[in-house]
């Protein structure tokens, strides 16, 4: 177990290192200079040079990369002299547009994204797996057909359509729900829940199709397995046969897809956050990209990579937990 964590952890760090190098150097291919952006309009070349020197942008790329990495681990000072800015660890750079540390921007946005995505992912996985489970047990009946049609309808629609439709229906017409908004769950759990309900529902409807189809296919396969017949022959009630024996045996690919979905979404649910006007990481990333606010973009890309790597490690670990035939080492 310890060996697994060590090996998988170092592999994860290596991946993150690769991503950071790639993004860092890619941003220098972008034909824009942070110094010009900071300087604003009607800027003389001498001023730009001055700012570049101040920010260390005249240094070789490798040194700049080293500075950036050092900032993440121990923090750093950006610029020199009177205008120097103290950026504490984990320093992800400085947003000159809003004059604040990128880490505080991310720190504000991250809880919003985590709330939307975790709640959404749990809802869509539960909905999808339940639909697939029921349709497999009622194969070929109208229950099967309507469950799968429902899931497919969701998959063929778009979030900006469904999201807005649900908002119009539940917020403006029926007035059952307030406008979706983020309240910290530590301040008011009820408000947090009610504010998140609409994004969760939308995401569940849109993303459950793949889980429904996968669960249905897996269940149909495991239901014909010998060990399911054994479970019945033992005299277990149908519910236990289906849940504890059939579903459990087919859950591995579902966990895989869930891990990938979760990792990708945690990096920023760009469209969802924009549709519901929630300032999460995806919202911040899209805005930063529009404004060429490179330090922020860089940080969001790194964060997305971090989540994907993290969920993959967790999924690997879960495999061994689910299937004892998988040995960690």
């Amino acid at each position: 177990m310890a060996r697994f964590i060590l090996r998988r952890g170092s592999l994860a760090l290596l991946t993150l290192f690769g991503v950071s190098v790639l993004t860092f150097f890619m941003f220098f291919a972008v034909p824009t200079s942070p110094a010009e952006l900071q300087c604003g309009r009607d800027c003389r070349p001498a001023q730009v040079q001055n700012i570049e020197k101040q920010l260390g942008l005249d240094q070789p790329l490798l040194i700049q990369y080293g500075q950036y990495m050092k900032g993440i681990v121990v923090g750093r000072t950006i610029g020199e002299g009177e205008t120097a800015i103290e950026c504490h660890a984990p320093c992800l750079g400085w947003s000159f547009r809003s004059s604040e540390a990128v880490s505080s921007i991310i720190g504000r946005a991250l809880p919003v994204t985590i709330s939307i995505v975790l709640g959404g992912a749990v809802s869509w996985a539960l909905l999808g797996v339940s639909l697939g489970f029921i349709s497999a047990l009622r194969r070929g009946t109208w229950v099967d057909r309507s469950a799968i049609s429902f899931a497919l309808a969701g998959a063929s629609l778009q979030i900006y359509f469904v999201g807005l439709l649900l908002q119009v229906l539940f917020v403006y017409t029926l007035k059952w729900l307030p406008s979706p908004s983020y309240t910290s769950p530590f301040e008011n759990l009820g408000d947090w829940f009610v504010g998140m309900l609409l994004p969760w529902t939308t995401l569940a409807f849109l993303n459950s199709a793949i889980y429904a189809r996968l669960t249905r296919a897996q269940m149909l396969e495991t239901l014909s397995e010998d060990f399911v017949r054994t479970a019945k022959a033992k005299g277990l009630p149908a519910r236990q046969v289906y849940l504890r024996h059939a579903l459990r045996a087919g859950i591995t690919p579902i966990v895989t897809i869930f891990g990938l979905d979760l990792g990708v979404s945690l990096g920023g649910a760009v469209i969802t956050e924009n549709v519901f006007g929630m300032p999460g990481v995806g919202f911040v990333a899209a805005e930063a990209a529009r404004q060429l606010n490179l330090p922020v973009v860089m940080a969001t890309v790194l964060l997305a990579a971090f989540f994907i790597v993290l969920t993959n490690v967790i999924v690997d670990w879960l495999y061994a937990y689910i299937d004892p035939r998988v040995r960690l080492g």
Binding site: D226, F227, T230, P324
Partner: protein
């Protein structure tokens, strides 16, 4: 068991199957998997059901366990287990009998055990479902006791192993331990040794015999292997294309077989006593499709003696009738009795299984 005196069977049949018919509707038509089969087993007695794949032997046993999907299978006739009717009985009542009164052992213990749960946990589950009052600890002790009983070394350690950590023979032992954990009165073993090495086969059969003597249960063993039958069964039922073609004691069916299909089966078994150079004689052809069963005697397309009694083989389904001068021995064949005896003496007698 060949020595019937030691197991002293009860007078009443514990399992009684009368005119059992099982059919499945498929896209291509109705499959008559079992078509009017009757048999009975007393406690302490072992019935062997022999036949090729598709002869309906497994389908019959699944019907006894009530394991057929009620929406797909049509079951008629009568199955009584300890006096209780299984056919048409509500699922919840049959479920309570399953694993408790009647238990089943399957062919391939690797696929029949759940790969994600420890052997112990699966036995505990089988025990606790019928003993809800038993604590986990009690059930675990019981599981270890059963593993010990079926001959698994260091059962207190192996109880926490997963099926893939067991060898094939050990897995089948664990499967038997799980089937017997609730002291069932009826045990159905569906090809229990087919997936195992020959050396392990004998051990498993010995174990089944021992356990039957100990638990005094009724045992049905399904196999295509006449060697297994000769070792363990008291009575034999030979099935072909969903019907019984011959029935009797082991002595009657293996020593004085009456049906050409039984002869074929015996001829396909290597003999220890005969000429080592002599080729085995396979039954020509392959088992018939149950969707489109041959007319008359279903065996006629493969029977070398078909047509020796007029056209009856091709038109009439032979009835299962008593063999003359051999009480309890039944056969479904159109050949006249003396003709059968003659053919048997001439062609078949030297082959056969060592009893």
């Amino acid at each position: 068991m060949t020595n019937t005196e030691s197991s002293s069977p009860d007078a009443e049949d514990f399992l009684r199957v009368e005119d059992l018919k099982v059919s499945f509707s498929t896209m291509d038509g109705v499959v008559h998997a079992v078509d009017g089969v009757s048999f009975g087993v007393r406690r302490g007695q072992t019935l062997g059901i022999v036949g090729e794949s598709g002869s309906g032997k497994s389908v019959s046993s699944m019907a006894v366990m009530g394991l057929h999907d009620a929406q797909r299978a049509t079951i008629t006739g009568s199955i009584t287990v300890g006096g209780r009717q299984i056919v048409g009985c509500p699922e919840e009542e049959v479920r309570k009998l399953r694993g408790q009164t009647m238990a089943m052992i399957f062919q391939d213990p690797l696929s029949a055990l759940h790969p994600y749960y420890t052997v112990g946990r699966q036995i505990v589950e089988a025990y606790r479902i019928h003993h809800p009052e038993a604590s986990k600890k009690v059930a675990r002790t019981r599981a270890i006791e059963m593993l010990d009983r079926v001959g698994i070394p260091r059962p207190d350690k192996r109880v926490d192993s997963y099926p893939h950590e067991f060898s094939g023979g050990m897995r089948q032992r664990a499967m038997i331990a799980m089937a017997l954990v609730n002291d069932p009165d009826l045990l159905i073993a569906d090809e229990p040794t087919t997936a195992l090495d020959v050396t392990v086969q004998a051990q498993i059969l010995d174990l089944l015999e021992d356990l039957q003597r100990e638990f005094h249960s009724a045992v049905v063993i399904i196999t295509h292997d006449l060697g297994v039958i000769s070792q363990i069964a008291d009575d034999v039922l030979v099935m072909y294309a969903g019907r019984a073609v011959e029935k009797g004691t082991v002595e009657q069916v293996l020593r004085r077989p009456q049906h050409p299909y039984t002869w074929g089966l015996l001829n396909s078994v290597p003999s220890l006593h005969g000429d080592a150079e002599a080729d085995l004689v396979p039954i020509k052809g392959s088992p018939p499709s149950l969707l489109n069963r041959p007319s008359g005697c279903a065996f006629h397309p493969r029977c070398p003696y078909a047509g020796q009694n007029g056209n009856r083989s091709f038109t009439d389904v032979p009835e299962l009738l008593p063999v003359l001068d051999d009480a309890g021995h039944l056969v479904a064949c159109h050949l006249p009795a003396d003709r059968r005896r003659e053919i048997y003496q001439r062609d078949i007698a030297e082959a056969g299984v060592a009893l």
